[in-house]
């Protein structure tokens, strides 16, 4: 009887601990897809997205407010169509805000930064950000630097 009891306790403790660990892993170690209050998608065209990836953060004033949902090549405009998924609790962003692709740190990953505009209308599902600034490509920057350095002689 004592034997069965310890077996039961051991099995129960093991299974509970296992599911607790699974719960911990699935909820506490990742928050990339957590939009608790829902979300809305806005689009933006960029001439060059640099190293931007799907799931890169979208931030405003340094605070993460969403992430990049998809990146596609626009065959008519020959630029990149980026869909930004923004947390629904940030529903009062002026619709003339501008989006730029920035780099976090020297070697860091790239993200989309939003600068608020002055419009009274707000971004909503399906809005397009008209004002965008491409990623700064290191080669272009060096090229411009070399041209400038040559010109100053």
């Amino acid at each position: 009887m004592q034997q069965t009891k310890s077996v039961e306790i051991g099995t129960g403790a093991f299974v509970l601990l296992g599911f607790a660990a699974l719960f911990f892993l699935t909820t506490q170690t990742s928050n990339l897809q957590s939009f608790d209050d829902g979300y809305f998608d806005v689009t933006a065209h960029f001439d060059n997205i640099g190293g931007l990836k799907v799931r890169s953060p979208v931030s405003m004033a340094g605070v993460k407010i969403g992430r990049v949902q998809s990146i596609e090549f626009d065959r008519e405009r020959f630029d990149a169509l980026v869909v930004l998924r923004i947390d629904a609790k940030y529903d009062q962003i002026p619709d003339d805000s501008d989006a730029s692709i920035l780099t976090a740190g020297l070697l860091g990953s790239q993200y989309v930064g939003l600068q608020p505009g002055g419009s009274d209308l707000y971004l909503e599902e399906g809005s397009e950000l008209e004002f965008t600034q491409s990623a700064i490509v290191l080669e272009n920057l060096i090229g411009r630097f070399l041209v400038n350095a040559g010109g100053s002689d």
Partner: protein
């Protein structure tokens, strides 16, 4: 010479085919066994609960060493903040499933194989058949199900404790910021990474349990045969787990 090779290869294919038929049989009998959960829960205790201390100790130290190694190397690039996501991803996607499966093969797989093998040696399996009890249903299936159910839970425990180990090394010992450790981890880990680890652990659990039960059930009925069955359980499990690990990773990445 060539004939020998052909015979060896033929024997391999035959054993492989037989083991797959055995697997199909196990799956076919599983629903019947699940109607008597006490048979399976006993095996969950043997395969899972008895491996718990080993898994927790190993998980903690594997996580701690990953924290230490990643810290010392990432610090050279000024990227110490990435210790959290680095350790979590390494543990979730590779080390957790693989090391747990190898430990499981050594701890629970050998126990299963030698137990069933000894039943074979002492004619207990034949005795069951005499009493019109199917030894596959009574002996093999509950052990297979218990093992296959236990391993994913063990992997989750190993990974969680490992992340704790990395935290202990990174935050109090190396002086990383606790908030940065967790928030960078949450930024860097996607649901898909977690699912990759869970899928691996399910596949490894089925593979390691099947191999252990198969080797035990089909061992030579001698003392030497039982010993050989236990050895083969560990060796074959290790090879199969590592091959599956590569294949699942390749599918997940492409």
């Amino acid at each position: 010479m060539i004939r020998d090779l052909a015979e060896t290869f033929g024997g391999f294919v035959r054993t492989f085919g037989a083991s797959q038929l055995f697997f199909a049989r196990l799956l076919a009998e599983s629903p019947r066994v699940l109607l008597r959960p006490s048979l399976v829960s006993k095996q969950v205790y043997n395969a899972g609960a008895l491996s718990l201390v080993l898994i927790m100790v190993c998980g903690f130290f594997v996580g701690a060493v990953i924290g230490l190694q990643s810290y010392s190397n990432l610090a050279r690039f000024g990227a110490e903040d990435q210790v959290g996501p680095f350790s979590a991803l390494a543990l979730m996607k590779e080390l957790g499933p693989v090391i747990t499966a190898l430990l499981f093969a050594g701890r629970a797989g050998t126990a299963l194989a030698s137990e069933i093998g000894l039943m074979r040696v002492t004619d207990q399996l034949s005795a069951m058949e005499m009493m019109a009890i199917d030894p596959v249903v009574r002996v093999a299936v509950p052990r297979f199900l218990g093992g296959a159910f236990s391993l994913p839970l063990l992997v989750a425990i190993f990974t969680s404790i490992g992340i704790l180990g990395a935290y202990v090394v990174g935050v109090p010992l190396m002086g990383l910021d606790s908030g940065a450790f967790w928030s960078e981890m949450k930024q860097g880990v996607a649901q898909a990474d977690i699912w990759e680890g869970i899928i691996k652990s399910i596949v490894f659990g089925i593979a390691a349990s099947l191999i252990a039960v198969w080797e035990g059930y089909n061992c030579q009925p001698t003392a030497e045969g039982v010993g050989r069955a236990t050895t083969r359980t560990v060796v074959i499990s290790a090879v199969v787990v590592l091959i599956f690990d590569f294949m699942i990773t390749a599918i997940a990445i492409t």
